[in-house]
């Protein structure tokens, strides 16, 4: 067994060998951190000065242990973790033996830190799952195994710990191992190896145990050294473009890390999601040009012709291109503190591409503890859902099982910038690529000119009773008198028709705003000046609404009336009902209103007459909406194309 010092020749030999990246996970008190600490100790990787600190800390924290060491202190790094005796975040450890180098991610077991466990699992090839021999398989064991499988780990080592506390009983071990093999198979883990261990004393960790002669397999360290964890590599050549290198006029290269297959000079490639093709002219690296390069290498590719390729595009084998779509089904692990709301826009990052995306529907959520499929309208922290995603543009992708780089993505919240989900792509939906934009000859500009106006969307937001509809109504009357073609899209009125099926939950509010924005967009396309009056409490959805429109076509008007004033007015008696608990999810009372951070127009309505505010707003609009009347036809320069 390789313990203690490693000679230099062994070091350079291990350098040529492949690294094993694995994680350890287990339930609270299973002894995971202890096992890992012991593994490092047995591999001879605890330097003397760290050992001295460990001895000191063991005595300080555990007087009852006497001279024994608490190996878990080697791995729990944060103050809070040492105080609470739990693992909160992944800790990475590096060790090597004569035969192999290892990176181990020590993952937290608590359900509330699932996102941190998933972080560790995303870059691992193998998982060591720990169970306490006295407790057997627990809910957490099932959850950890499920998360491992979800993130693509196909090989698990089950370590049944604390065998000394069950009298080294083989029957106990066998029962747990058998049960686990069935469970792992259910969850898609291709390969399971089991072994009995005692972490604090290192039995079957770094050396074989003399108390469990009935077990004749390798100890944990031997097993990790010898296991073949080669991950099947994707065959087809793929490289997401990270950076376009143009140091001078003579050089143009596409830098990136190859994430599938192999590429050779002369190969024909396609730049996706587009259809431009070229041949590879050079494969440039700082150590000299290469004839060919393969998955995992960071290179710069030069093509034989000038193409319009940029960061986020995928360079792929021309004969075997990646699928391209703007809708797909996927598993989502939700990690946001706020719930996932279908139809809300998030930034999706896949490879090096970022695109606005939304969950169009949640097919079901998966109970991470039982894997039961449940109906869901939203996802909460640490929940897994099977969802349909829709994106603003088509992307080149692969299924996660085929190519984790082009099939794994993250979602970023556009307000907080938090990473709120990781997703594992399953397959694309055919319908998206079959629905195309139909070209029409008469466009927005032409339609607007025939009405003598520039179309515009005026979006009034504010609390219920703030005066949005009153002001919008006055503005519309004034514009109408002046001969403009307008429409007032009122939030309340819309709920009698197109949004009849929606209530006031956060999910329904998101969908309510989305539909109103789409309708307003159609009306602007028809050449109208649209006044939208709707509470629209969320910044995220107001931003999504704005993004539907061209620059200068959308004006956010914040009707800023203090809550007390709205409540005092209470024209519809709604605040009284909400205070009495008769109406739920009422904005300002038991549902949030997110104030605009930089509205185009900020109307302070307190102490001002609605007429006065409407007049101010109208004056401001007039300069922008007037356009020369053009009633002849669409035969102008702009529309001739």
């Amino acid at each position: 067994m390789a313990t203690g010092t490693v000679t230099p020749t062994e070091v350079s030999a291990s350098n040529a060998k492949r690294l094993l990246r694995f994680i350890t996970c287990g339930s609270v008190d299973d002894g995971k951190s202890t096992l890992l600490g012991r593994l490092l100790y047995d591999a001879g990787m605890v330097p003397e000065d760290q050992l001295a600190v460990l001895t000191r800390d063991s005595r300080k924290l555990h007087a009852e242990l006497g001279d024994k060491l608490d190996f878990s202190l080697l791995t729990d790094g944060l103050d809070a973790e040492r105080q609470q005796g739990i693992t909160i975040d992944v800790a990475y450890r590096y060790f090597h033996t004569a035969r192999r180098s290892f990176i181990v991610a020590d993952c937290p077991g608590h359900e509330q830190y699932t996102r941190n466990m998933a972080t560790g699992a995303s870059n691992a090839e193998l998982a060591v799952v720990l169970v306490d021999a006295r407790k057997g398989l627990l809910t957490q064991t099932r959850r950890h195994t499920y998360i491992c499988g979800l993130l693509g780990i196909r090989q698990v080592v089950l370590a049944v710990n604390k065998m000394d506390l069950v009298g080294y009983d083989q029957a106990v071990y066998d029962a747990i191992a058998d049960e686990y093999c069935v469970l792992a198979k259910d969850l898609g883990i291709a390969r399971v190896q089991c072994l009995p261990v005692v972490a604090p004393t290192g039995e079957n960790v770094g050396t074989r145990s003399s108390c469990m002669t009935w077990y004749d397999g390798p100890c944990l360290l031997e097993l990790l050294e010898s296991t073949d964890a080669t991950i099947a590599q994707a065959d087809d050549f793929r490289m997401p473009v990270q950076w376009v290198s143009r140091p001078d006029q003579s050089f143009r290269g596409y830098a990136g890390t190859i994430c599938g297959g192999r590429v050779t000079c002369g190969d024909e490639v396609i730049v996706q999601p587009g259809v431009q093709r070229a041949r590879i002219e050079r494969i440039v690296t700082a150590s000299g040009d290469l004839l060919s390069a393969s998955s995992g290498q960071a290179v710069t590719l030069c093509l034989d012709r000038e193409l319009d390729a940029s960061r986020g595009d995928v360079i792929a084998a021309a004969l075997r291109p990646a699928p391209v779509a703007d809708q797909f089904n996927c598993h989502l692990l939700w990690m946001g503190d706020a719930v996932l709301l279908p139809n809300r826009t998030y930034v999706l990052k896949i490879g090096t591409r970022e695109v606005n995306a939304r969950v169009m529907s949640i097919k079901h959520k998966v109970d991470v503890n039982t894997q039961a499929k449940l109906a869901a309208r939203h996802l909460e922290l640490n929940e897994v859902g099977y969802c349909t995603m829709g994106m603003d543009g088509a992307i080149a992708f692969e299924s996660f099982a085929t190519n984790p780089t082009l099939g794994g993505f993250i979602l970023i919240d556009r307000q907080s910038n938090a990473t709120v989900a990781c997703g594992m792509l399953d397959y694309a939906l055919g319908r998206s690529s079959n629905v195309q934009w139909q070209h029409v000859d008469i466009d927005k500009v032409v339609r607007g000119r025939s009405k003598g106006q520039h179309p515009l969307c005026l979006w009034f937001t504010g609390l219920s009773g703030a005066g949005k509809s009153t002001i919008a109504n006055l503005v519309e009357r004034r514009l109408h008198v002046l001969g403009y073609h307008t429409y007032l899209l009122d939030g309340d009125n819309v709920r009698h028709g197109i949004n009849k099926d929606l209530g006031f939950t956060p999910e329904d509010r998101v969908e309510n705003i989305r539909r109103i924005a789409e309708v307003a967009h159609l009306m602007v396309d028809a050449g109208l000046i649209v006044l939208v009056s709707v509470i629209s409490p969320y910044r995220s959805e107001r931003r999504s609404a704005r993004e539907l429109f061209a620059e200068g076509e959308f004006m956010e008007v914040f009707v800023d009336t203090p809550l007390e004033e709205c409540e005092r007015r209470d024209a519809k008696g709604l605040y009284q009902k909400a205070r009495a608990g008769l109406i739920r999810n009422f904005t300002g009372i038991d549902a949030p209103y997110e104030r605009p951070e930089s509205p185009d127009v900020h109307l302070h309505s307190s102490g001002q007459h609605a007429e006065h505010l409407a007049e101010q707003l109208t004056e401001r609009l007039l300069a922008g909406i007037a356009a020369p009347h053009d009633v002849v036809d669409g035969d102008t320069e702009e529309s001739a194309e």
Binding site: R18, P47, G77, R82, D89, H96, T119, W243, T352, I410
Partner: protein, 305 residues
């Protein structure tokens, strides 16, 4: 002995590719990135990778050295040579207020000196140049709180790290979104060990400061550490004598706070050989790390690299 299936890339190739990928993500995603340059071996590797990542173009970001004014003279000479190469801009920042106050590791102690001349100085420089991404050479194998840190590590507008709510990080898909005033620290060498760094320096023939190689140097023994008397500001304490001993350094920092090790390793091969046999950790020689066990976590929360 089992025969392994032929591997196309070695362990060092994989580490190099991962680091290059990280450099490119930073350059492509941030407005004002910078590479923190501390002149040590990790910085030498970092600079080498920076050049490789953007070859044949020049590195698209400057280097920043936060000079505490107490670095070894050989370090400063080495830095100036790097700057003279001309392919990359080297910015040097000194906390002039600290200099006026006469802050010194010898009279104010390691903690005050580090707070004022390193942590505060770094924050001043990041604010001055409005850097939104700062690349550093820290490795996870160095220290326990580093072992917990993400590769793209978010900092709020006050440069603080919140270890309890780090952004989850998946595959090599990094979240680079921040608001104005916020920043990230990025660690391309996260997955490298000290041994990997030396093996790579050897393989790529990367220049490092000569202080890493053993030779007779003037040192005093102080609290179990060998401190080098590098210039005439060195304050000799009663009953200390300067002796010539054959020593080298495993890490480099401010000379009064950096312990040497007795060694005869004067070539890269000998250093690697010595390290493979070593039973002590790399940061043992650093006086600032000898505080209570979790002190690095505290320093990092306050903005230290």
């Amino acid at each position: 002995m089992t025969t392994q299936s032929p591997q196309r890339h070695s362990h060092l190739d994989d580490l190099e590719a991962e680091s290059i990928h990280i450099f490119r993500e930073v350059a492509a995603s941030f407005q004002h990135p910078v590479m923190l340059y501390s002149i040590g071996k990790d910085s030498s590797v970092l600079l080498h990778l920076l050049r490789k990542a953007f070859f044949p173009a020049r590195p698209p970001m400057p280097l920043l050295h936060v000079d505490t004014t107490w670095k070894f003279r050989e370090m400063i000479a080495f830095r100036d040579e790097v700057a003279a190469a001309g392919d990359v801009e080297v910015l040097v920042h000194i906390n002039e207020e600290g200099v006026r106050q006469g802050i010194s590791p010898q009279t104010h102690g390691a903690t005050v000196h580090t707070d004022v001349m390193k942590t505060l100085a770094l924050k001043q420089a990041l604010d001055k140049y409005r850097f939104d991404a700062a690349i550093g050479g820290a490795r996870r194998d160095e220290e326990k709180s580093r072992a917990k840190e993400r590769i793209f590590s978010f900092r709020n507008a006050q440069h603080r790290w919140d270890p309890k709510s780090q952004r989850p990080e998946f595959w090599h898909t990094y979240n680079t979104h921040i608001r104005k005033g916020e920043s990230v620290r990025v660690f391309p060498l996260s997955n490298w060990t000290e041994m990997d760094v030396w093996l790579y320096i050897q393989r790529e023939n990367i220049p490092v400061v000569p202080l890493y190689f053993a030779k007779p140097r003037p040192v005093v023994e102080r609290d179990g550490a060998l401190i080098m008397a590098d210039d005439d500001r060195f304050l000799l304490q009663p009953d200390e004598t300067v002796q010539m001993r054959e020593v080298r350094f495993r890490t480099l920092g401010c000379y009064p706070l950096t312990g040497a090790v007795e060694s005869s390793a004067s070539t890269l091969a000998e250093i690697i050989d010595e390290m493979a046999r070593s039973r002590s950790s790399e940061r043992q020689g650093r006086v600032i790390d000898q505080d209570p066990s979790a002190s690095m976590e505290r320093k990092k929360q306050e903005g230290y690299f």
